[in-house]
C-alpha cells in the first residue's frame, strides 16, 4: 500500500468505495479521485491524445494534463474530468479514456512507434488528396484514433442553474494570501466573496508542513476560515472556479455543487455565477512547471510540489523509491517532507551546482541533469547526463513556478517576464483588479504578508472601509531561489505538452517551417491548445522557442489567455434555459379554450398559436384546414389575432409622426377610419406592414406583424426620441392588454349584432369597410371594432380587455352555433391571405421593396418619410425589377413548392437564368388547386406566360403560369358586402 499510517487531512474513519475500469477500490473521505488512485498504486490512468503513450497522474490540481478520466456512467457521464479535482464519493464509477482494448494493452499504441512520421502538421500535409477522401474516410478515422472521452449522447438528466452575486471585494484563491486578505477585509466590514476551485479551502496551506504562528499551516488556515464563517459580510464559495474576468468588474464563476449527478430532488448540479465586484483580488498562486528531458512523460514522473501535497494532505506516497529532480529550492522542501514522512528518497538531482544543499543526510547530485528515462507502464529508472542509471519508480520534478496570471490577461493584459524568478508576472491589470502572492511572483511568505498589509489598506480605503489591525504572523520558511532555463535543446523524445502530445521535435519543425511567432507556433503545433490550455506547457514551449530563435523569452512573449480558466460545461451556460424553457412561450388569451377544442399549436415567434382545429373524423391536416377555409367563406369563422403587435399612439403630432414612419400618407386619415400602412427601412427595403386606426384626432392604434412587434416598437421609439425629439408623441405597447379576434365571413355581421350593446349600429352604411370605433358588447364590456379583412371576406377585428377573452370565446361558441361558426387557425389564415394575394412575412423578408411588392405607388413622393428617398435609387427601379405575382401549375394535379426558382422554359437551370422565386404556396380549396405567390422579373407584365418552377432539393420541375396574385374575388365585392 501507498497510504501512510497517519497524517493528512483525510477522515480514515470513513471509507469510500469506488471502481476504476471495473476494479473495486477504496479511499477515504477527503480524498480526491487522484489521491485515492495513487493510494491504490494506480499511476497509469489513461493514454495520450495522439501517440497513445501510457500516462499517469502528473499533478494535484486543476492544471492536470494527463489524468483525464470518464466520470460516472449512463446519461450522467462526464468526459475529460481531471482526476485531481474530483472529490472522492461513495460508489463513484470511473473509466479511463482513449484506448482500444484494455488500458494496459492499448491497440493504438502503434501510433507511438509511428511517431517519427506523426510530427507537427502531419495531418495537414498527408491527407490532402484525393480531396473527396477527407470527409468520408480520413476524418472519421482520425477522429476515432485521436481524442479524449465520450459523451453519452443521451439527454443530460441533471439540473444546472445560474445566479448573480454582488460584493465589494471578490478574492480569488484561498491560500495564505487569499485567507489573510479576506480576514483583513472581513474585519473592516467590506462585503467579501472568497472563491476557490478546491472543495477544501486553504490552497497550498493544506499541502505544506510549515508552521505559522506555532501551528501547522493547515490549522492556521482552518482557524481563519472559522473566523471568516462568523462574519455576515463574508460569503465563502469552495468548489467554485472563477473562470473569466469580464468588463467593469464582472466575473464568471462555476460552482460544482455535486459530482455524483445523483441529486434526487432536482437541485442544481452546477451553478454558473455572475459576480459583480467593485474590486477584485487575485490570489491564485502559482503552478509548478516541469523540466525537459527524454521520455519525460512516463507514469511515475510527477510535479514535485504535487508529490509533497499527496504526502502531506492525503497521506499518500506516490512511489516506493522516490527521486527528486529540481532546479530550485522547492524541490528540496519536497525531499525533506517525504523523508520526514519515512519515504525512501533515492536521490535529489539539482541542476544548480552553486548551492549549499539544505539537507545533508541524503544522497544528492549537484550540477547534474536527467537526460532520459526507462520503463513501460511505469517509470523504472532514470539516466543522468553522466550516463549513470538510477533505479527509481517515482520522479518528482520541479522546474520553477508559473504564477497563475490568466485572469489578469482576460482583457488583453500582457504578462511581464521576471528574470530572477524565471517566470511571467501580471502586466497591466483589468480595472479594479489587484494581485497578491505567488500569482504576483512573490513567493516568500514574509514578503506576501507584507504585501497584504500594504495593499489591503489601499484597497479597503478605496472602498470606503478602514483597516483594523491584523495579527502579527511568524513562521519558518527560507527565501526562494530558482535556476535559469537551459540554453541547449534537450535530446530525445521530450514532451513539452503532455495533453496534446507536443514534443520538442514538433516545435523545432514548426520553427523550421516558418511558424516563428508564438501565436502561429501554438496553432501549428497545437502547443497549449487542449483542455488544460497549456498551464504546464506554455512557458516550457517558450523556453524552447527562445533557444531555437536565439532570443530571450521576454522577446517572444506569451500567447493570449482567454476565458475560461478551466473548461465550463455547456450545460452550465444553458442553465435552466433548456427544452421548452429555452425561450418561454407566450400564450394567446384563447389558448386554454383552443386546447379544449383539440387545437394543434405552432410556434410563431415567441407565441404558441392554434394552427388548425382537427375534428375526430379528419385524417389529415389538409382536411381540417380546407374545412376551416370553406366554412369561413361560406358562413363565419373566428381566429385569435392577439399576437399582432399593438401600439397606442397619442399626442398632438401623432398624425405627422405616422406620416413620417409609414411610407404612405396618414395625416389625412379621418377619425373613425383604418388604413393599411407600409413601413420601410431607411434604406428603402420593406420593413413591416399593418393597419392603423384613428380613434380620435390625436389617438391612433397601430398593429404590426407578429414577428416584428418588438423591432417596430424599438424603431418607433428611435424615430420619436432620436429623429423627432421635439414632437409631441407618446407610445405604449398594448399587445398584451387587448385580446383581438378576427371574425370573418358573410355571416360575421349577423353574429356580431348578437353581442353588440344597444346604440351600436354596424350596418354596411354606418360602419362600412375600413371603419373603426369604440363600442361596448355583452352589456357594458368596452371593446374596439375594426372593419378590416385579411381573409377577403366581410370581416371585423374585435378587441376587448384580455381578461374577458376566455368567457368571450365560450359565449361566441354558443352564439355561433346557429351561424355555423368555425374556429380557424394560422394555416387557414395563410390559405385565405394567399388566395387574396396579401403579402406576409414570406414576402416581407428583408430583401424586397415596395416596388417589388406591387405597392410602389403608395410610397409618398412629397413627404419626408423613413425610406422613401432611398427607395427611389436606380437599382430598386430597374426595368426588369422583381414583381410579386401569382402562380398556378399548368397541370392542376401538381403541388407548388415554396422556395422554387423560376427559369424561362427551355433555358438551362443555372444561376444566370434565375428569374425569381416562389415565396408562399397553398392548396386553395376555393379554386381546387395549388396556388402560389412569388417574385419574378417584370411579373406584372407577364400574366399568362409559362415558366418552370425548379426545386433543386427534390430535382423537381413544375410548369407554372404567371397570374394576378388576386386569386379569389379579385374585385373585392365580398369584403365590401
Amino acid at each position: 500500500m501507498f497510504r501512510l499510517k497517519n497524517g493528512g487531512l483525510i477522515n480514515r474513519g470513513k471509507i469510500l468505495n469506488f471502481s476504476f475500469n471495473g476494479k473495486k477500490l477504496y479511499g477515504y473521505e477527503g480524498d480526491t479521485l487522484a489521491s485515492a488512485l495513487l493510494a491504490n498504486g494506480n499511476h497509469l490512468v489513461g493514454r495520450s491524445f495522439k501517440y497513445h503513450r501510457p500516462r499517469g497522474i502528473f499533478s494535484a490540481g486543476s492544471e492536470e494534463p494527463s489524468a483525464l478520466i470518464q466520470l460516472g456512467s449512463g446519461a450522467h457521464t462526464e468526459p475529460n474530468i481531471r482526476a485531481t479535482t474530483v472529490p472522492l464519493f461513495n460508489n463513484l464509477v470511473v473509466t479511463s479514456q482513449n484506448h482500444f482494448g484494455p488500458l494496459e494493452w492499448d491497440l493504438m499504441r502503434i501510433n507511438d512507434f509511428l511517431s517519427p512520421f506523426l510530427g507537427a502538421g502531419f495531418y495537414y500535409k498527408t491527407f490532402m488528396w484525393p480531396k473527396s477522401f477527407w470527409e468520408k474516410i480520413y476524418e472519421p478515422i482520425i477522429r476515432q484514433a485521436a481524442g479524449l472521452g465520450k459523451l453519452s449522447s443521451k439527454e443530460d438528466p441533471s439540473c444546472y442553474d445560474k445566479g448573480f452575486l454582488h460584493c465589494d471585494l471578490l478574492i480569488i484563491g484561498s491560500g495564505p494570501s487569499g485567507l489573510q486578505s479576506a480576514l483583513c477585509a472581513a474585519r473592516s466590514g467590506a462585503k467579501v466573496i472568497l472563491a476557490d476551485e478546491d472543495f477544501l479551502l486553504g490552497g497550498s496551506l493544506n499541502g505544506e508542513k510549515l508552521q505559522i504562528n506555532d501551528v501547522s499551516a493547515s490549522d492556521w488556515g482552518a482557524q481563519i476560515i472559522e473566523e471568516l464563517k462568523s462574519f455576515e459580510n463574508v460569503r465563502l464559495l469552495p468548489k467554485t472556479t472563477v473562470f473569466g474576468a469580464f468588463d467593469h468588474g464582472i466575473f464568471g464563476a462555476l460552482e460544482v455543487k455535486d459530482y455524483t449527478g445523483q441529486f434526487e430532488n432536482k437541485k442544481p448540479r452546477q451553478v454558473l455565477w455572475r459576480i459583480y465586484t467593485k474590486q477584485s483580488l487575485l490570489c491564485s498562486g502559482a503552478t509548478e512547471r516541469s523540466l525537459l528531458f527524454g521520455n519525460n512523460d512516463r507514469p511515475g514522473i510527477m510535479l514535485s510540489k504535487s508529490v509533497r501535497q499527496y504526502c502531506n494532505r492525503w497521506g499518500v506516497i506516490p512511489g516506493k523509491n522516490i527521486s527528486i529532480y529540481t532546479n530550485n529550492d522547492d524541490g528540496w522542501i519536497t525531499a525533506r517532507d517525504l523523508k520526514d514522512a519515512g519515504c525512501n528518497i533515492v536521490t535529489v538531482i539539482d541542476e544548480r551546482s552553486d548551492i549549499n544543499p539544505p539537507i545533508k543526510d541524503i544522497n544528492y547530485h549537484l550540477g547534474k541533469k536527467v537526460i532520459d528515462t526507462r520503463g513501460g507502464l511505469r517509470l523504472s529508472s532514470i539516466i543522468l547526463n553522466d550516463k549513470s542509471k538510477i533505479k527509481t519508480d517515482c520522479l518528482a520534478v520541479s522546474g520553477g513556478f508559473n504564477p497563475n496570471v490568466h485572469l489578469t490577461c482576460h482583457q488583453r493584459g500582457r504578462p511581464q517576464w521576471v528574470k530572477d524568478y524565471q517566470c511571467f508576472v501580471p502586466g497591466n491589470l483589468p480595472k479594479g483588479m489587484n494581485v497578491i502572492g505567488a500569482a504576483n511572483g512573490v513567493f516568500e511568505l514574509e514578503n506576501i504578508f507584507q504585501e497584504i498589509t500594504d495593499k489591503m489598506e489601499r484597497i479597503l480605503s478605496s472602498l470606503g472601509y478602514k483597516t483594523k489591525t491584523t495579527n502579527k504572523i511568524k513562521f519558518n520558511r527560507k527565501p526562494f531561489n530558482v535556476g535559469a532555463f537551459s540554453n541547449s535543446l534537450p535530446e530525445g523524445n521530450v514532451w513539452v505538452d503532455l495533453q496534446n502530445d507536443v514534443t520538442v521535435k514538433d516545435l523545432k519543425l514548426s520553427v523550421q517551417e516558418g511558424f516563428h511567432s508564438v501565436e502561429l507556433l501554438k496553432r501549428y503545433s497545437t502547443l497549449g491548445m487542449a483542455t488544460d490550455q497549456g498551464k504546464n506547457s506554455n512557458v516550457l514551449g517558450l523556453s524552447i522557442l527562445s533557444i531555437l530563435k536565439n532570443k530571450p523569452i521576454e522577446e517572444s512573449g506569451t500567447t493570449i489567455y482567454r476565458p475560461p480558466f478551466t473548461p465550463v460545461p455547456i450545460g452550465a451556460f444553458a442553465g435552466r434555459s433548456r427544452g421548452s424553457h429555452f425561450r418561454p412561450f407566450r400564450l394567446t388569451p384563447s389558448h386554454k379554450w383552443a386546447q379544449n377544442q383539440n387545437a394543434v399549436f405552432v410556434e410563431a415567434g415567441n407565441w404558441l398559436r392554434a394552427q388548425w382545429f382537427p375534428l375526430p373524423d379528419e385524417k389529415s391536416w389538409r382536411e381540417s384546414v380546407d374545412r376551416e377555409v370553406i366554412r369561413t367563406r361560406k358562413s363565419v369563422g373566428i381566429c385569435d389575432v392577439t399576437t399582432l403587435g399593438k401600439i397606442d399612439i397619442k399626442g398632438e403630432d401623432s398624425g405627422a409622426f405616422l406620416n413620417f414612419v409609414y411610407a404612405n400618407n396618414f395625416g389625412k386619415l379621418p377619425v373613425g377610419k383604418v388604413r393599411y400602412g407600409l413601413m420601410l427601412r431607411e434604406d428603402g427595403i420593406a420593413f413591416d406592414d399593418g393597419t392603423t386606426a384613428r380613434l380620435s384626432e390625436n389617438h391612433f392604434v397601430m398593429t404590426t406583424t407578429t414577428a416584428n412587434a418588438v423591432t417596430v416598437f424599438r424603431h418607433l421609439e428611435f424615430c420619436r426620441q432620436c429623429l423627432k425629439s421635439n414632437w409631441d408623441v407618446h407610445l405604449i405597447s398594448t399587445t398584451d392588454h387587448w385580446a383581438q379576434f378576427a371574425i370573418a365571413g358573410p355571416k360575421s355581421r349577423a353574429l356580431l349584432s348578437e353581442i353588440m350593446d344597444s346604440g351600436v349600429n354596424i350596418s354596411n352604411k354606418s360602419f362600412p369597410f375600413m371603419a373603426c370605433g369604440e363600442i361596448s358588447i355583452f352589456g357594458g364590456i368596452r371593446a374596439r371594432l375594426f372593419r378590416i379583412s385579411f381573409s377577403g371576406e366581410l370581416a371585423y377585428e374585435l378587441a376587448l380587455p384580455r381578461r374577458y377573452a376566455s368567457s368571450f370565446m365560450n359565449a361566441m361558441t354558443e352564439l355561433g352555433k346557429k351561424f355555423n361558426l368555425v374556429p380557424y387557425g394560422t394555416e387557414a389564415l395563410g390559405v385565405m391571405r394567399i388566395e387574396k394575394g396579401h403579402a406576409a412575412g414570406n414576402e416581407l423578408n428583408g430583401q424586397t421593396t415596395a416596388n417589388n411588392l406591387g405597392l410602389g405607388k403608395m410610397v409618398s413622393k412629397l413627404n419626408d418619410c423613413i425610406g422613401n428617398t432611398m427607395s427611389e435609387r436606380d437599382g430598386f427601379n430597374r426595368k426588369d425589377v422583381l414583381k410579386l405575382v401569382g402562380f398556378t401549375p399548368t397541370n392542376e394535379m401538381h403541388s407548388l413548392v415554396a422556395g422554387s426558382h423560376f427559369i424561362s422554359r427551355g433555358k438551362k437551370v443555372a444561376l444566370e437564368n434565375d428569374e425569381g422565386w416562389m415565396s408562399s404556396v397553398a392548396f386553395s380549396p376555393m379554386l381546387g388547386k395549388s396556388i402560389g405567390l412569388g417574385f419574378i422579373k417584370e411579373g406584372d407584365k407577364r400574366f399568362g406566360e409559362r415558366v418552370d418552377a425548379i426545386n433543386l432539393l427534390n430535382n423537381e420541375k413544375i410548369e407554372v403560369e404567371i397570374t394576378s396574385p388576386h386569386f379569389f374575388d379579385p374585385k373585392g365585392d365580398r369584403l365590401r358586402a
Binding site: 468588463d247 467593469h248 468588474g249 464582472i250 459583480y276 482583457q411 480595472k431 431607411e682 434604406d683 418588438v710 424599438r714 421609439e717 428611435f718 426620441q721 432620436c722 429623429l723 425629439s725 413627404n863 419626408d864 422613401n868 428617398t869 432611398m870 427611389e872 435609387r873
Partner: protein, 95 residues
C-alpha cells in the same frame, strides 16, 4: 458591461440593445431637389474608431430610453451616458 443609466443607475448591458454610431441622430431632411448623396452618406458611412466613440443604445428591458453613450472601444470604458433627447437639446443650444 455595466452601463450607468442617468435615471436608473448602473445596469447590466444585457438590458440594452445596441444600434451603432450616434451620427444616426443627424438624419438629413428630404428637400426638393432630393440630395441622394447626403442620404447615402447618412445611411452607409460610419466612423469605426479605436478609442472614444459616441454610440446609440436602447434600454429595451428598462425604461425604453435611447441613450448616447461615449465608450472607449478598446477598453470598453464608459465615459458618459446621456439621454438622446438631452444630447440633442445640448447640440441645438450649441454646447
Amino acid at each position: 458591461m455595466i452601463i450607468p443609466h442617468p435615471y436608473l443607475g448602473p445596469r447590466d448591458s444585457c438590458e440594452f440593445v445596441y444600434k451603432g454610431d450616434a451620427a444616426l441622430l443627424f438624419r438629413p431632411e428630404r428637400e426638393d431637389p432630393v440630395d441622394y448623396d447626403t442620404f447615402h452618406n447618412y445611411l452607409y458611412l460610419r466612423n469605426n474608431p479605436a478609442g472614444e466613440h459616441k454610440e446609440l443604445w436602447y434600454h429595451e428591458y428598462g425604461d425604453r430610453s435611447w441613450l448616447v453613450i461615449t465608450r472607449n472601444t478598446e477598453t470598453h470604458e464608459i465615459l458618459k451616458v446621456e439621454l438622446a433627447v438631452d444630447y440633442l437639446k445640448a447640440q441645438e443650444n450649441g454646447n
